[in-house]
Every structure is written in structure tokens, then in C-alpha cells.
Symmetry: C2
Subunit: 664 residues, 2 copies
């Protein structure tokens, strides 16, 4: 039966041009072509096999990752891949590795925080991987509060060196990826101390291991922090622990772009504005949003295909049972996630633009949009990663029992993804930052200062506070301006109401703390509005391909109407909509499910994922799930023997009532 496509019927139902949708999803024909080519290259190379990952014990797993990373680098060189292609290759290898931190954090930190002179020394080494770097900020006792880090870097004017030291157990660096076993160097954040004065946290380049034999240098104690959530998953990464015992580095290994220490030990600011760091932050966060859409779309692709394969109940006269994707409850759980994957893709694309915009403004010394860009990226990072983590687990549940098997791919996808809710800013801490920005904006209403960018709607606060939703029929909920106003009104009202409640406190900080749960909800409302508005903006553009735009309109409708239903309480409490209008929204949502249903498989085919990248039997392209599950089961080590190891020692004596004399 090789080659039979069990989902062919589903594919034939599609009412839009899948090839065009693939381009839309990829962002451009060029991006599509690179991704398509590189993903196939990886998928067809047995050296990149990953289905054995859940079965490997830690040491073998890690060694295998070292092999893949080296092999990937070898291929990158052999094939003379461009930077874009190389990064796509690492992406499709789909295995967390020290190289992620080297390219994703170490190199950007060097670029963002080193002087030109420093860059010309370190970057060539890093680019050729003659050194491997990691990003060592978090400590055992200090994560979210970076200003509370305890590691010290004390300037010694005698020798023109910094002395890096870990004064306490809690000051041990703890978590940095690539630190445990692989890195030769680290960007280390430590309190800069000159002449007895603490200048706060600064970054330093520290060599950790000998370039000869990879042994830790004197004064450095380093190791792996142990197993993390899940089989395979993030255990391919050597998150590490590191303590310094008075380790000396030359003065020029402080990253001196923004502030410097002179030969005499004088601390001073350079003329490069501090705000520059925000550029890197926007860059990293837009990457995280892009990754969210990728992880969520993988999970959705698996659950959607399997929901079309899986049949349960409803057989008439011995005919086939109903495909579970036809159940409205299944659609009601699955399609909003499908829609979210698209929504996050488009808001991610827009964030790329924002990054360019911010960079250009910074270059022109224009810092006016920074607070807004900062709040917006913080909020979108939080929103998309939380929704993605929850969404992956929901997709797993949508697959019933079989979703619990490692071969479904979903357990590993979940386990490897969830820390995105914590790293690069704990999601709740980030929402509190957004809330601060919102409260600041609210407090400036009427001051003449016009809110810009994603918060511009607050400029229409008067209108938004008094208007009422004018929806009368279910279809009215397809009107973009109606929808936008509903989300704007909800966000505005929640922020304004928080602002009013805050003003009742004599101590604003106390008020903020006391009301922080409400403030977080207001922040979520603001962030959801951004995603909805960027999706609607996307649909204003020309989108080629038969039926493509129509389908995206339905998908967008599912996104905002499912949000509206989920947060119905907000919309009703702020009295912008009536219960009747909320019910009409639900009616329209159901109608959109029916619209999307025949296109569901084609919508996930549009992600253009290879079976290798998906790594899921339940999600395999041809839908031939059951024989593959059966074959895969045989490979479990437990099946090496028919009678299990331990039968003679433990099972037999128990069954034969001879436990009293058994050695246990």
C-alpha cells in the first residue's frame, strides 16, 4: 500500500490554492523556496534522524546532539550555505543545542554590547566557531530580577584586570544553555565594582575552558544542572551551573559599547545611547513570536490530520464511523488553535518590520517609539508563548489516548516548548510591564501627548468609552471595523477602569501591587487587540491565489470570535456588547467552523512541513497512522525480549508465592 494517500479525499475538498497559501505562510516566495529546499535536505539525511530521541539515556542523547551539531556545521561549510540557509538548516534539524545560544544569544550580545574594536576581535572567532559562547545571566537565586544578580566583577587597577567572583551559593550561574559542557566562552553578567563602588550589572566576556583540552580554567567550576521536562526534548541541551573563584580577565573583556572602565579604574558612560539594548530585545522577541507560530502550527497540523483519520461513533449500518474532526466540540477546540497559528505568523511578520523600524530610528537617535515597541514586544512574547504552550497540550488531548505516546510527537513538542513561557522574561512579569505602560498612557490622557503605534487607539478614548456595539445579525461580526472597535473598546475600558481604581490608592505602588491581577487582564486585552488588528491589516493587502484571501478571512474570524467568546466576561462587563450580541458572535463562529472544515487539511498542508520536521506518526502526511504506530511500538527497548528483564528475579517469585526467600 506504499504511496497511498489516505487523506486524498480531504485534500480534494480544499476550496483554495494550497501552493499560494504556502507562499503566504512562508512570507515570500524566496523564503518558501529556501525553507522547502533545506527542510527536504535535512529530512532526507539519515544523520538527522530524531525518532530515537525519547529512548536515549541522557549521555547518549547529548553525545548524539554534539554529533548532529558538528555534522550540521560541516554540511553548512560543504554546501557553502548562506547565513539564511544555515540558520534554516539548524532550524529544521529541530534539536535544541549549544549552537542555539551561540548564534542566538552570544553573537547578538557581542554585536550589541561590544565596541567596534572588541567586535573585530571576537566576532570572527565566533563566526567560524573557533570559540563557542553562551549567555550567562541567570543565577540560582536570581532570574527575573536581573538587577539583583550577585556575581561580582571587581576591577583590580594593579593588574588592569577584573576579578570575577561568586560570593554565595545563590550567585552560581544556573540555567545558561550550552554552558554545562560545550561552551568555551561566556558572556557573564556581574556587578561591576570599581574602587569599592557598585555600578550595577554589566556584561563581560569570560573564557571558561581550555582551548587545548576543554578542561575548565583555574577558578572555574562548571557542570550540567541535570534533567529537564520530557523525553528527549530540552535534555539535548547542556544548561549549566558555574561558579567563579576569583577568576581574572583582562579589562578589555568588559563589553564596553555603552559604558567603560578606564585604565585608572574610572567608570564612565560612552556616547552610545543606552537604549541600544532595546534593539536586541525587539529582535530576540520577534524571533520568539515566530517560533510560537511554528510550534503551534506543528501541533495543529498533527491534531488536524489525525482528527481526519480518527473515527469514533456514529457508524450507520456498519458503515465507517464519523471522523472526529466532524464533531463540533473537536472543531471548537481545534480550529481556534489553527487560527491562532496563522494569527501569530502574521503578527510575527509585522514584528520583523517593527524591528527594522526601531533599528532605523535608533540609528537616527529617535527614541520616541521605544516605550511602545518595548511594551508591545513584551506583551506579544507573553501572549503568543502562553497560548502556544496551552495549545500544544490541547492538541495532544485532541488526539485521545494516542496523543500520549511519544511517537505522536506531541509530548516532546510540549516539553521542549513550555520554557518559552519563562525564559526571556517570565510571562506574568512581562504582562506587568505592559500594564505599567498602559497605566502611564492612561494617566497622560488629556495631557496632549498623543499615543502612537499599537496604543494609538487610546487617542480615541472618549469615543471608545461611550460607543456601543451595533451588531444586529450574526454576519455583522464579519465586519472588520465593527470587530476592531469591539476589541479597542474592551481594551480601553479595562485600562481606564484600572486607572480609576488605582487613583483610589494614596500610594500608587501599593495600588499597582494590589490590583495587579486586574492589570494583567487589561494587558492581555491590549495584546489580543494587537494580534487581531495585525491580522485584519494583513487582509487589507492584496493576497494572490484562488480562494486564499477568503479562507484567511474565515480563519481570522475564528481567531477573533473565539477570543471574544472566551473573554465574553470582559466584553459584557465593560458593557460594550449585549448578551444577545455575544450569542450572535457564537452563531457566526459556528458558521465559520463549517466554512473551514473542508479546508482544514489543506490549511495545515500549507505549512509545508516534512514528516521529519513534524516528527509525528499521528500527523504523517499520508494519514496511514495505524500500521506505523504498530511498527514503531516494536522498536521499544522493552520489546527486545518477549519475557522482560526482571521476570526471574521479581515476577516469578511473586507468582509462585516465593517472595520470602527472594532477594529484592
Amino acid at each position: 500500500m506504499a504511496g497511498v494517500d489516505y487523506l486524498a479525499d480531504e485534500r480534494n475538498k480544499a476550496e483554495f490554492d494550497v501552493d499560494s497559501m504556502k507562499i503566504v505562510w512562508a512570507g515570500s516566495r524566496h523564503t518558501f523556496e529556501v525553507a522547502d529546499r533545506i527542510s527536504k535536505l535535512v529530512a532526507n539525511d539519515p544523520a538527522f534522524r530524531k525518532d530515537d530521541r525519547p529512548m536515549l539515556p541522557r549521555k547518549e542523547l547529548f553525545k548524539n546532539t554534539l554529533r548532529k551539531a558538528a555534522y550540521a556545521w560541516k554540511r553548512i561549510i560543504e554546501l557553502r550555505l548562506t547565513e539564511e540557509e544555515a540558520s534554516k538548516l539548524r532550524f529544521f534539524v529541530d534539536e535544541p543545542a549549544y549552537t542555539d545560544l551561540h548564534w542566538g544569544m552570544f553573537v547578538p550580545a557581542l554585536k550589541g554590547q561590544c565596541t567596534d574594536e572588541q567586535q573585530s576581535k571576537w566576532l570572527p572567532l565566533a563566526y567560524k566557531m573557533q570559540i563557542i559562547g553562551c549567555y550567562a545571566q541567570t543565577e540560582l537565586g536570581h532570574g527575573s530580577n536581573v538587577q539583583g544578580l550577585e556575581t561580582t566583577a571587581t576591577f583590580d587597577p594593579q593588574t588592569d584586570e577584573f576579578v570575577i567572583h561568586s560570593p554565595t551559593l545563590t550567585s552560581s550561574k544556573w540555567w545558561p544553555g550550552g554552558l554545562g559542557k560545550a561552551s568555551t566562552h561566556a558572556v557573564v553578567y556581574a556587578r561591576l565594582i570599581t574602587d569599592g563602588k557598585d555600578h550595577g550589572v554589566h556584561g563581560f566576556i569570560v573564557q571558561l575552558r581550555s582551548m587545548e583540552d576543554h578542561k575548565p580554567l583555574p577558578g572555574i567550576t562548571v557542570g550540567d544542572i541535570g534533567m529537564k521536562f520530557g523525553n528527549g526534548a530540552y535534555n539535548t541541551m547542556d544548561n549549566g551551573v558555574l561558579t567563579f573563584d576569583h577568576v581574572r580577565i583582562p579589562r578589555d573583556q568588559m563589553m564596553m559599547r555603552v559604558s567603560q572602565v578606564t585604565r585608572e579604574g574610572k567608570y564612565k558612560q560612552s556616547d552610545v545611547p543606552r537604549q541600544l539594548v532595546y534593539g536586541t530585545m525587539v529582535y530576540v522577541r520577534q524571533q520568539i513570536v515566530a517560533d510560537a507560530s511554528c510550534a503551534l502550527s506543528k501541533a495543529v497540523c498533527i491534531a488536524t490530520r489525525y482528527s481526519a483519520v480518527r473515527r469514533q461513533f456514529g457508524s450507520q449500518n456498519g458503515g465507517p464511523e464519523t471522523q472526529v474532526i466532524d464533531y463540533k466540540t473537536q472543531q471548537n477546540r481545534l480550529f481556534p488553535l489553527l487560527a491562532s497559528a496563522y494569527a501569530f505568523r502574521f503578527v510575527g511578520e509585522w514584528l520583523k518590520w517593527l524591528y527594522t523600524d526601531v533599528t532605523q530610528r535608533l540609528a537616527a537617535n529617535d527614541f520616541s517609539t521605544l516605550p511602545e515597541a518595548h511594551a508591545c514586544t513584551a506583551g506579544l512574547k507573553s501572549l503568543t508563548t502562553t497560548a502556544t504552550a496551552d495549545g500544544i497540550e490541547e492538541c495532544r488531548k485532541l488526539c485521545g489516548g494516542h496523543g500520549y505516546l511519544c511517537t505522536s510527537g506531541l509530548p516532546e513538542l510540549f516539553a521542549v516548548y513550555v520554557p518559552a513561557c519563562t525564559y526571556e522574561g517570565d510571562n506574568v512579569v512581562l504582562l506587568l510591564q505592559v500594564a505599567r505602560f498602559l497605566m502611564k498612557t492612561v494617566s497622560q490622557i488629556g495631557s496632549g501627548k498623543q499615543p502612537v503605534g499599537t496604543i494609538a487607539y487610546m487617542g480615541r478614548v472618549e469615543h471608545l468609552l461611550k460607543s456601543r456595539c451595533s451588531v444586529q445579525r450574526a454576519e455583522d461580526w464579519l465586519n472588520p471595523s465593527q470587530v476592531l472597535e469591539a476589541f479597542e473598546a474592551r481594551a480601553t475600558r479595562m485600562s481606564v477602569s484600572c486607572g480609576q481604581n488605582l487613583s483610589k490608592f494614596s500610594n500608587p505602588e501599593e495600588g499597582f501591587a494590589e490590583l495587579s491581577a486586574d492589570l494583567v487582564e487589561a494587558a492581555v486585552a491590549h495584546c489580543q487587540l494587537i494580534v487581531v488588528s495585525k491580522f485584519l491589516e494583513k487582509l487589507q493587502q492584496d493576497i494572490p491565489g484562488e480562494g486564499v484571501k477568503q479562507l484567511l478571512q474565515a480563519v481570522c474570524g475564528i481567531y477573533y470570535l473565539s477570543l471574544l467568546h472566551k473573554h465574553q466576561g470582559d466584553f459584557l462587563a465593560t458593557s460594550y456588547i449585549t448578551p444577545k450580541q455575544a450569542a450572535l458572535a457564537s452563531d457566526q463562529l459556528r458558521a465559520l467552523y463549517s466554512k473551514v472544515r473542508p479546508n482544514a487539511i489543506a490549511l495545515v498542508d500549507s505549512f509545508n512541513y516534512t514528516d521529519h520536521f513534524l516528527g509525528s506518526i499521528l500527523g504523517c502526511y499520508d494519514g496511514n497512522v495505524y500500521p506505523k504506530l504498530y511498527e514503531a511500538a516494536k522498536k521499544d527497548p522493552l520489546n527486545d525480549t518477549v519475557v522482560p528483564d526482571g521476570y526471574h528475579e521479581y515476577l516469578k517469585p511473586l507468582l509462585k508465592q516465593q517472595l520470602h526467600s527472594a532477594k529484592l
Copy 2:
């Protein structure tokens, strides 16, 4: 520093008597004493060590579980433990094993579905573990829809035997725990066929493996289905796959309590009522609800203690930072889960009573309360397992980065728990059953038939449809009858509204399918009402111990007010409460957080969990988290060597730019 209690300050703050609360949590002094004694026995026995679980590869992990199960049985015999004590011992060993299915499913199936004669043959063997049994219902292609199973049991009158056969790949038994490697016998569900006629699915006792050498008997192919979610976790269990090739069993191995096949091959019902099976179902589900409160309370205990240890931000003048448990956002995520753990405990206790009640009624041929009991247990199973699975993951996130480490205990707790949302009835499928019951009740309104038990409130439908919430001040939300009416009104209105919408469809089945997402929400509202009302009822009782009842009142308030806030949309859409009243509920909720805060550690101490049972460094009793994390990290196999395996083959050639000649 051994023996220092880092949480002593927190413990001193408690405003209630912890020892009394421990009794309340356990259910009785007797239950407390048994649990306390047995949990310490397990904790103090190094043979039951479990912290190495995440590091063990599958085969070793499984072998180790065989050892523990045998050792546990040995101890049970040596110590002459009672049935209650033995089951507590297995519980505190805290490792999924074939024995769970043997005692939890195989033995109850024999008891519930075998004739007295059959029971007297099989039960003694099972009680002594001279045979090991599992429960083989689910197939590769058939789970929720049990009536769709494909395995056949065809009666052969010539030999007076049944021929058990797997006609297709999808008919392979798939998932049964204990089947893969350990069981000697199984209760197998198969379509009974006599004389060419299909009588639907029935249960059969089938021997799988030789009692001599444990090899599968002729015609039986059996093995393990492979790795499941998580490290350690459910991988200690040998969930299995099984196919039959015309396997013959004697006629008397059909479980014949309810229906029988005679020597002549005639199929007939016995005089024992079919409804008896519901008794077992109520029993199994009350156990699942009890397990939910246990799993959730473990997670909450870990997150609460760690939130008191963890400090982040807010340091003044170099003093200590703020304990994260003092942040209102942290409380707003954590305390409702703490409250849920208590709520589920009490509703679980009530379900035990319900089981007794149902059993007595069945014995008296009174089936009148069965539909209600069935709906209620289905709904509570769904509600509590969903909330627990989500709650464990939220607790993990509440621990920031460190929650992602296996040593936090939370990843394994999550991975081992989540299938409870799927087995014993997929949670959505169960809610749809509840919804059917609700719609039936609604359709009978006015027919004179009085709804009983947990649905009795529907008898007051007229009042509940027209009444309005009379809360005027935040404290009014502490009034139990106000609260109860709010939850009753919400549930009633959602059900009635669904009923009205259904009546617009000419085909009721079509209507049910189309509106199923709304119906599921109505079912959730009904189930939440049950939990709230049982908590409130509990508080009507005499509860001894200083401050205990007061604290439980606060905890109960947090439970229902956080639900009210989360589902504010329902309450507002049904117009029972106003936005202003919803806001007052939030105010009261915040006040209750402050009330509970100083008691938080004592409230989780009341669970009386040993450090062994918790299995979490972050949750350890003494709060001495950091040194323990540091020591535990050293034990990872990756730290066996300073320079990792694979350095010479993969890292060195990369760093030295010699990959071209490296063998990868």
C-alpha cells in the same frame, strides 16, 4: 545547618490548628493515622527511592518497577497489612505499575461481572497474586466508542469454547496497562458471536502467558506499545498491544453474571440487572476524583512552599527581596488551585458516600437515582481531572525556571497525571453525556417528574430564571445562599437556553451536534455547581479545631469567587449578576487572598505529605532549596566526566576547523 527549618516563620504565622486540619483533609482520624504511618514507612525505606526515575532508561526503569512491586507485596505480607494499609502502601510507593490495573480494574471487573461460581475460582488466585490480570478493552482503532470494538469471541458448540480473534490491525488491543510484559491474564472485551449472530461487546477472562515460563500462549502476540510522555512518569507501566489468532478459551471464561451462553450456544440474560455495572463505574470515578485532589494538592504544596522560599525584586536598602508568594498575581494563580485541591477533596469524600448509597439502592432494585449518579460522576471526573492537569502545569510555571527541572517533581507529576483526562472516558465525551442528561431534565420540566440529587435545583427553575442577584457589598459574596443561588441560576439558565436553541432544530440529534460546544459549557456550569455546593455543605458541618472552619470558609470563598471571575461571561450573559456585582466579587476575592496568605504554608502542611511522596526539591518541608538543587545537579550522568563524551569526536574537530576530515 541540618535540621534548620527555613519555613519556620511561615509556619508560625498560621491562624489555625494544623493538626486538626490534617484530620479534616484525611477524612477521619483513623484514615490520617494509617496514611501517616504507611507514608513514613515507605519514605524511610531506601528500596522505595524514586529520585533516580527520570535518569533511568526504559528497560532499567521497568525492571526497577518490577522490583518495587514485588518488594511492596513482600512487605505487605511480612507486615500482615490490612487491605486498607496495603492499598495505602501501593499509593505511597507512588509509581505506576501493573499492580494498579490488577487491583484497580481486573479484580473489580471479576467482582462485578462474574458469577459467584466464577468469583470463587478466580478471586482467590487474584487476591494472592498467583495470577496477574489486566483490563483489555481499548483497541488501536477504538477507544471512546466501546460498542465499536472489533475483537470477536465466537462460540464453538463443538468444543464448548470461545474463539477469541483479532480480525484486523485496528482490532489489536492497545493501551491496557500491565498487558505489555507483566500480566498472565486479561479481562478481554470482544463481540460475542453465537450461531452467526453478533450480541455486542462482552467480557472474557483470557490467559495470556504460560504460568511456567511467562511466554505468550499459542495464538497470542503481545508486547509493549512504547514510550509515553515524560521522564519516568507512566513509562514504569507496560501498556501493551495484543492480537489474537483464533485463541480458544473454555465457555466458562465468559464473565456471566449479567448474560450467559449455554452449552447449546444460546445467549440469554440472567436475572441480575444490567445496571449493576454502574456501581463499578461510580466506584472507579470516585477514586479518580480522590486522585485528582491528591495530584493537585501535591503540585500546590510544591508551588506554595517554593513561592515562600523564592524571592525576587523589591529589595529595599540591600535587604532581602520580596517573597514571590506576596505578589497578588502569584496569589491569583496559586490560591484558587489551593482552594480547588480542598474542594476536590471534599467532593471526593461525598462521592464515597454516593457510591455507598448507589450500591444500597441497587441491592434493593432501586434504579431511580442511577441516571443522576451517572451524570454526576461523569461530570465530576471530567471537571476535576481537567482542572488538575491544568493546575499542575500552572504550578510548574509558578516556580519559574526551576520548575522545569525534573528535581522540582512537577514535570513528572504532570506527565504521569495528564492521561487521567483521557482514560476512563475522554473528558469531552463525558461532558457531552452530562449535557444529554441536562437536556433530558430540561425537557421534562413541567412534566411533574421531580429532578433529584445534584440536579434537584432544576425543580426551582421558575424562580431561578427570574431572580436577580442581590449582592450590594463585597462581603455579601460570603453569604452561602447568595452564592449557591448564583451558581444555580447560571447553570439553570445555560441549560434552559440550550434547550430552547435545541428546540429550533427539526432533528434533535442534529441540533445536539451543532450546539455541542454550548452544551459542554452548560455541563461545566452544572458540575461546578456540584463542587461548590458540596464544599458549602461541608462547612455546614461541625468542624473541630481552632480556626479550622474559618480558614476553610476563606478557602471555599476563593474557590467559588475565582470560578465566578473566570466564568464571569456566563454569569453576566445570563443576566443574573451585574458588572458591578462581578467587580464586588473580585474585591472580595482579593480580600480572601490576604486572609489566606499567612496561612498558606500551614494549609499545604495539612496535606501531611512526606518529602519522599512529594518528590520535589522545590517543595521540601524545610525550604532549604538551593543547596539541595546544587547537590542534585551533580548526580546527572552528564557530570560523570568534566569533559563530555563526544568532545574528541565532535567538539574538538569543530573548534579546530577540522570537520572536513572528521568521521561524523
